[in-house]
């Protein structure tokens, strides 16, 4: 059992939560974007988290940890677009308006995105404190030597 690997698990969660925050910020920033490269309004994105067994870089390490393969990293396993139809707003003077004068805006609710962002921030904090706790354990183990 290697305590440094525990840090790796919490580190994977830091990465995943940060990616979630990035995607949510992109949604917030593009809440009013009516034109993207592929045409049409911006599409709201979701991250999907999945648990993945910790990968061992070498055969020796996997042998050493044989029997404790229950530790799982968290990974972003997918980035999914929201299929909710865009919101139609009547703005005849808008350059992206259709023939009836309606403009398609992305179906993004800023309040929902803010809550998602808060969730990501709290998840990040939680894992950061787990890392602090593991760091303390490693530090106290080092004091056996001195």
């Amino acid at each position: 059992m290697n305590l440094f690997r525990v840090m790796e698990i919490s580190g994977s969660a830091l990465l995943a939560e940060r990616m979630r925050a990035e995607v949510v910020s992109a949604n917030l920033a593009n809440a009013e974007t009516t034109r993207v490269d592929g045409g049409g309004p911006f599409q709201r994105m979701h991250v999907v988290f999945g648990a993945r067994p910790v990968a061992h870089p070498s055969f020796g390490m996997s042998l050493a940890s044989f029997g404790d393969l229950h530790a799982e990293n968290v990974r972003v396993v997918g980035l999914v677009g929201d299929e909710t139809p865009p919101i139609q707003r009547f703005e005849p003077g808008h350059p992206d308006a259709d023939t009836q004068g309606y403009v398609s805006y992305p179906a993004i609710n800023p309040a929902e995105e803010m809550i998602n962002l808060m969730g990501a921030a709290r998840g990040y904090e939680m894992n950061a404190s787990a890392i602090t706790s593991i760091k303390n354990m490693i530090q106290s183990a080092i004091t056996i030597l001195g």
Binding site: F49, H70, T143
Partner: protein, 119 residues
């Protein structure tokens, strides 16, 4: 029985192994706090330690991991409780530190013997 291979030292080593393994599981639970469908898991640490102390089971601690019962699942199928995990995080850290302190005291005693009581 040599000075460096006493039963107490072996048991302390097992205790450290067990606590750090449990900490791995807690870190896994915390990391997957937002993973849909993830179920909290833990090990029967107390039972294992008692078995090790009673001497029935002289093998190295074999991790026995199981899902935790009695936790409330969220609609996405995840049942990680942040309160439970942060409490365990602190508790296991203290257990580990306590074992390290005892280990240090043991080695200090040994060191005193080596130096014939000279400071």
């Amino acid at each position: 029985m040599s000075f460096l291979n006493t039963t107490q030292l072996v048991l302390l080593e097992r205790y450290l192994d067990g606590t750090s393994m449990r900490q791995t599981l807690v870190a896994t639970n915390v990391a997957n706090v937002d993973t849909p469908g993830y179920q909290t898991r833990d090990t029967d640490f107390r039972g294992q330690l008692q078995r090790a102390l009673s001497g029935d089971d002289n093998d190295v601690l074999v991790p026995f991991v199981m899902p935790v019962r009695g936790l409330i699942s969220r609609p996405d199928g995840n049942n990680v409780s942040v309160d439970r995990e942060s409490l365990l995080l602190a508790e296991i850290q203290l257990q580990y530190k306590a074992a390290i302190s005892i280990l240090r005291a043991k080695f200090a005693l040994l060191s005193t013997a080596i130096k014939e009581g000279q400071p």
